[in-house]
């Protein structure tokens, strides 16, 4: 039934989009300037930011042009100085320039002071360009139009991404403009092997995307698979890379990520050099990288910029943090409500003393406190920064201390929830799965004790082992595990020791010619 509904919806969308395209195809360009302008005007009915301006050459009044652009996405200076001015003042006479396409070539070569010019007859292309900040130049008596690059829209400054703060390392971050983002990567990898292929997504938004990879390193099969999946996407709008992520995910119902995301150029370059493929999308600073191994949830770009002694420890802490944040509430409830024998006597007495006059059973208490914590966290993200302080006071004092003092909640539960919350911040890339897994394990623990907890945890691990990204297993525990493959997992090996790239991801494994760069041994 659900299949039927979704198919039905899809057909409706397709119909609408095709309807839109047909409308465009029915309006071919003509030789008459007025007709062309009317076509554009009718296409942009009720779009008041469209500006249409007629221009006539001073020397030869038979040379008549018309430019059309959308106000706000163009640079007024370019249009004034580089388009209108040369067109009006040009000394070339109509006789010099006329005769079909020849006129267009002459305009491009001798008159217009624009770097990027394109001839077109396609009305669809004209619409796409005009909405993206280009200026369309129609010439009287010519069946073609010129697309002139006059983009000039306001962009955000390059800033360090808020949610990927680091202590040391490059601090630049992507912004919303595709070309600027690409330039940040381009600059870091000065080789022709870095390929950048454009692609457009979204029937409505026609969002530009760029698929980046390093030709000699990337696994060609994975690249082919990625293109196959991207080609099958049929969607009206793509506003963020998460749209694509969900469309090409291997297991669409799994809460775990199977694609990476970052706002940092250094991370993208690092991943490209390991053989991954990056997908840039216009209009979002978030860049998607595939394939995504499970261990990447625990990796941070900073791991590579700080001493490997320090970062190996942080890796370890993040993995422990993941286990704690999904396990602690369930484990606590299992021990306190089922297997009390597992607790050391003194601990049992302390917890029992704290729970003595608390109204709710431990399991209900755990559910409520987790819910309260999630509410607090969510408000913390969405609220304006200037009311942060009152919120933390309410959170810490009212819900923490006052609830314990009023004997509404047992103090150990506050500790458990606090531990859960703090450790979840260690693995920000897994914010979605941890919420569900935590509750999943808690439900099992509250009904079956430690037994349920262990079954649930086994289920989680089976699921994780079954995850794939672009068809390769996210977590490989096969017998063919190689020493070089785990050097960047639970620990971060020193750079001189990471000789190869991960096997499943690349066609070219050798990273270092000689692993001894300095005075080793």
């Amino acid at each position: 039934m659900f299949h039927f509904i979704s198919r039905h919806k899809k057909e409706m969308v397709t119909d609408q989009v095709e309807h839109l395209n047909q409308q465009l195809d029915n309006n071919p360009l003509s030789r008459s300037l007025q007709k062309n302008v009317d076509t554009i005007r009718s296409l942009f009915t009720d779009v008041d930011i469209l500006v249409v301006r007629y221009i006539q050459n001073r020397q030869d009044s038979s040379l008549r042009y018309c430019i059309a652009y959308c106000d706000g996405v163009v640079s007024g200076e370019i249009i004034n100085e580089n388009i209108i001015k040369p067109l009006i003042l040009s000394g070339e006479s109509a006789a010099d320039m006329k005769s079909g396409a020849h006129l267009l070539d002459n305009l491009v070569e001798k008159v217009l002071l624009i770097s990027e010019v394109k001839k077109t007859k396609d009305i669809k292309e004209i619409v796409e360009s005009i909405t993206y900040g280009d200026t369309i130049l129609f010439i009287d008596g010519v069946e073609e139009a010129l697309i002139l690059n006059s983009k000039g829209f306001g962009t955000r400054a390059m800033e360090e991404p808020e949610n990927e703060k680091i202590l040391s390392g490059p601090r630049e971050g992507f912004n919303e403009v595709l070309m600027q983002n690409l330039s940040l990567v381009r600059r870091k990898v000065r080789t022709n092997e870095l390929k950048m292929k454009f692609k457009t997504f979204g029937k409505m938004t026609r969002t530009k995307a760029c698929i980046c990879y390093i030709d000699k390193i990337v696994n060609k099969n994975l690249l082919k698979e990625l293109y196959r999946r991207l080609d099958s996407i049929d969607i009206d709008a793509v506003l963020d890379s998460n749209y694509l992520t969900e469309m090409i995910k291997d297991s669409p119902w799994s809460p775990f990520r199977t694609t990476g995301y970052t706002e940092r150029p250094d991370v993208v370059v690092g991943k490209l050099l390991e053989g991954r493929i990056a997908i840039f999308l216009d209009g979002t600073p978030v860049v998607m990288t595939v394939p995504y191994l499970f261990i990447e949830n625990f990796q941070s770009n900073e791991d590579y910029y700080l001493s490997f002694f320090y970062t190996s420890m942080s890796r370890f802490l993040r993995i422990v943090g993941f286990l704690l944040t999904i396990g602690v509430p369930g484990f606590y409830v299992a021990l306190v409500a089922f297997q009390q024998q597992m607790l050391p006597t003194q601990l049992l007495i302390s917890i029992a003393g704290a729970r003595k006059s608390v109204p709710l059973p431990a399991a209900a208490e755990a559910f409520i406190m987790l819910l309260v914590f999630d509410i607090l966290r969510e408000t913390g993200i969405r609220m304006p920064t200037n009311i942060g302080q009152p919120l933390s006071i309410v959170g810490a004092l009212v819900i923490g201390q006052a609830a314990v003092d009023a004997k509404l909640v047992a103090a150990p539960m506050i500790i458990v929830v606090a531990l859960t919350g703090i450790t979840s911040l260690l693995v920000p890339k897994m914010n979605a799965p941890v919420i569900y897994l935590r509750v999943f394990l808690l439900i099992l623990s509250s009904s079956f004790g430690l037994y349920g907890f262990v079954i649930g945890l086994s289920g989680v691990f089976i699921h994780i082992l079954n995850l794939h990204s672009l068809g390769i297993p996210q977590m490989s525990l096969s017998g063919a595990l190689q020493y070089q493959d785990i050097k960047d997992t639970f620990i971060r090996a020193p750079w001189w020791d990471m000789i190869t790239r991960t096997k499943s991801m690349t066609d070219n494994r050798i990273r270092l010619k000689s692993n001894r760069g300095g005075n080793h041994e």
Binding site: F338, R355, K356, P361, Y451
Partner: protein, 380 residues
């Protein structure tokens, strides 16, 4: 696909519902027992069960954990335990019980087998509970006092027993499951730690006092701490403790030796209807205390101390064994069990008469003491 999911769900439901240990029981629905004392009323033959329970109203405050005593009586142990619920808000919870104390009367009447059985078969009790015999009139007398350090006396007793073998070396920590297996193994008798009340400063506190010797499941007598130490030597359970001796030939105790390691090997021979046991004890000790002026770098001095100590261990161990053989006639050393393990046929031959044979066994103790550390201070 649907079939798979249904199968998975079915098997999960079956799996989960067929296992035990999953009834929800909140911590506020239980009364935590720290220690249990079991007595026998000599007149009515009722079991008297005294449970030391944790007083949760006082926990978490600065005063520390307090305990209370719950008493009940019944025809059987289970009956008595259930009767306790008549005066309790919550059910008794046995999972963290630390010690099980047998009253003197109960132990003498020969019922400990019963009680051990019940505690083992009950699902909630730990198999690792420490067993203790109260030398006071009843087990309750031991539980009703306050501990010196920890106000829950059961925890204190447990800790005293657990640390004893490494620090004092006067008793053997016998846990519930071990006691059960000793009771049920041929040619072996049970010895349990004994405790008594003593006056310390102003208060009465519990103190360990050697071993209680059982024959079958009947208490037959006690070994005081001075003797129980040599019992431990004989059964290879000594891991620490102090030996004292004299540095000169005069009869004056002025040397303390701390046992760091001790190994006992038993062997036996059976010739002409006579059983001979040889007990070889090898002990490594460190000099801990010494009269000033004795040259500890002198090998002769050390050797003399060693020899004097060896002689003492030999004599005292033999005398303890003699005492147990003649006075109690209870094979707490497991001599019979040794024969059973190495030569079943011989054991089958000896078993019916074992009570008569045991007192006649000749035991030879050979001791070897090595001083490995002399705590030598240089005199300037």
């Amino acid at each position: 696909m649907n079939k798979k999911i249904v199968c998975l769900l079915l098997s999960l439901i079956l799996l989960l519902s067929q296992t035990g240990c999953w009834s929800y029981r909140g911590l506020n629905e239980i009364t935590i027992i720290a220690g249990i004392g079991i007595d026998l009323d000599p007149k009515t033959k009722d079991y008297l069960v005294s449970c030391e329970i944790i007083d949760l109203t006082s926990t978490g405050k600065e005063s520390g954990t307090k305990a209370k005593l719950v008493e009940s009586r019944g025809k059987t142990v289970m009956d008595a335990v259930r009767n306790a619920k008549k005066r309790l808000l919550n059910k008794l919870y046995w999972g963290n019980n630390e010690v099980l104390i047998f009253g003197n009367e109960l132990a003498k009447s020969g019922d400990i087998g019963n009680v051990i059985n019940w505690f083992l078969t009950d699902a909630e009790c730990r198999e690792t509970v420490c067993l203790v015999v109260s030398q006071e009139k009843t087990a309750k007398d031991l539980l009703s006092i306050y501990g010196l350090d920890n106000s829950v006396v059961a925890f204190e007793i447990k800790k005293i027993i657990a640390d004893d073998e490494n620090v004092v070396g006067t008793m053997e920590n016998v846990q519930l499951f071990q006691a059960f297996s000793i009771l049920n193994s041929p040619g072996r008798s049970l010895a349990l730690p004994a405790f008594r009340d003593v006056k310390n400063d102003e208060d009465i506190v519990a103190e360990s006092n050697g071993e209680a010797v059982f024959k079958g499941d009947k208490l037959v007598g006690y070994l005081p701490p001075e003797e129980s130490k040599y019992y431990l030597f004989a059964v290879d359970e000594i891991h620490g403790g102090i030996l004292t001796t004299s540095s000169t030939d005069e009869d004056q105790t002025d040397v303390s030796l701390e046992i760091s390691k001790s190994k006992t090997k038993n062997s036996y021979s059976y010739e002409n209807g006579q059983l001979k046991f040889t007990i070889k004890i090898e002990t490594e000790v460190a000099v801990d205390e010494m009269k000033p002026g004795v040259d500890l770098l002198d090998e002769d001095t050390l050797e003399k101390i060693e020899q004097r100590e060896q002689k003492m261990i030999e004599e005292r161990t033999e005398s303890v064994i003699k005492k147990v053989q003649t006075q109690y006639n209870s094979d707490i050393f497991g001599f019979g069990n040794m024969i059973y393990k190495s030569d079943v046929k011989l054991w089958q031959q000896l078993e019916p008469e074992w009570d008569k044979i045991f007192p006649t066994i000749q035991v030879k103790v050979e001791s070897k003491v090595n001083i490995v550390n002399t705590s030598f201070l240089k005199h300037s």
